[in-house]
């Protein structure tokens, strides 16, 4: 699907067809997309575990729930739990594992080189000790990692491109650790709940956002980016946009979905 159409399709999907399984190749495509995301010094910060609702016991599912994701755990047939491996930098630096800056690969393949001031000696003698090693003694540190989220976001777009509905929501870290047996060095990013949509692709309409001018600035934080309204309209028509939520028939759709899926209507 065209990039802009995929971006424009994104919604906080809530209603999945509980009986329609997600084909394994589609799940693999999501992971392959995440694998190709940008990451600092080419280090493997992002990890993911794929789980199938029907492979878990009711007790295990309960352990995964947070107040914000309980219904998704019950209704989505596939979950992908995305994590940040807080040990990834140490593995890259100390074990020289995998093709990273630390192992010298990015210089060797011509991604970084003398035209940008980089050489093998610069990596070994300066970048490693001054940039990549400081802080490792303190051990794994929580606090998130944007690169792990880049992978997840790319996976999300791939899910939409594959014709799947997806929703990002938090999961219970301690419960997931028990069920998924995750290493101590992994901290959660978000859970991705997946399935074929039971609701229409509009899913009630495009979701509200704060004013554009409160998010985007030009040259400094006091100067809003002057949005060209005609261009915004053209981009919306090319796929980025959609009718704003709620579409007039949303309430009826939601009631029908609740009946169909056996969910509470009031």
């Amino acid at each position: 699907m065209d990039f802009r159409q995929v971006v424009g399709r994104q919604r906080t999907f809530q209603y999945f067809l509980p009986y329609r399984p997600v084909e394994r190749p589609k799940v693999q495509v999501i992971l392959e997309a995440g694998r190709r995301s940008s990451r600092a010094v080419n280090t493997a910060f992002s990890k993911a575990i794929v789980t199938h609702r029907d492979s878990l016991s009711a007790e295990e599912r309960e352990k995964l729930k947070t107040p914000l994701s309980a219904a998704l755990v019950d209704t989505a047939p596939v979950y992908i739990f995305w994590y940040h491996d807080m040990d990834a930098r140490r593995v890259a630096v100390e074990e020289k594992k995998w093709p990273t800056v630390a192992s010298g690969t990015l210089v060797a393949i011509g991604a970084l080189g003398p035209p940008h001031g980089w050489s093998h000696r610069y990596v070994q003698q300066v970048v490693l000790p001054e940039v990549l090693m400081p802080g490792l003694d303190a051990g794994p540190q929580r606090g998130g990692n944007a690169d792990a989220a880049l992978a997840m976001a790319q996976g999300l777009l791939a899910a939409l491109d594959e014709g799947l509905a997806a929703c990002l929501a938090p999961f219970d870290e301690a419960g997931a650790k028990e069920v998924l047996r995750t290493p101590d060095t992994w901290e959660p990013v978000m859970g991705m709940f997946l399935g074929y949509p039971a609701e229409s692709w509009e899913a009630g309409g495009q979701e509200p956002r704060p004013p554009f001018e409160s998010m985007f600035f030009e040259q400094n934080a006091a100067e809003p980016f002057a949005r060209d309204a005609k261009l915004a309209q053209a981009l919306a028509e090319s796929g980025l946009g959609g009718r704003p939520a709620p579409v007039p028939w949303r309430e009826r759709e939601v009631r029908a979905l609740a009946r169909m899926l056996g969910l509470p209507q009031e």
Binding site: W118, S119, R121, Q124, Q125, V126, L128, P129
Partner: protein, 114 residues
Amino acid sequence: MTDVQTADVRNAETVHRWLASRLDLWGKKALSDDLVETLTRFCQRIGKCPDEMIDDCLRPGKERDVYVLRTRARREYMEQIEAFEAETGSRDQANIVRSFLIHNGVAMNPNLLP
């Protein structure tokens, strides 16, 4: 001008390292006589041997084979190279000196903006 000679430059450990690194990355075609000749002219201009230049920019760290970049020294060499570029009127010659520093672990680049 000082008495830094081409032979001194050619025999310096940091120059051997530079040429070996160029050979490793770019192949034989990246080795030419004008590399050492140009670096020699720069060394004569500032009155420093190649090894001294690198020692100025990289301070040995606590562990073996680990160095700390001296940012002020690096900045001063960048300015010296810019002056050399203005004097020779040649970006290529200045870049030869920059290449020597880069392959020895001192990152830098010329100013690309007008």
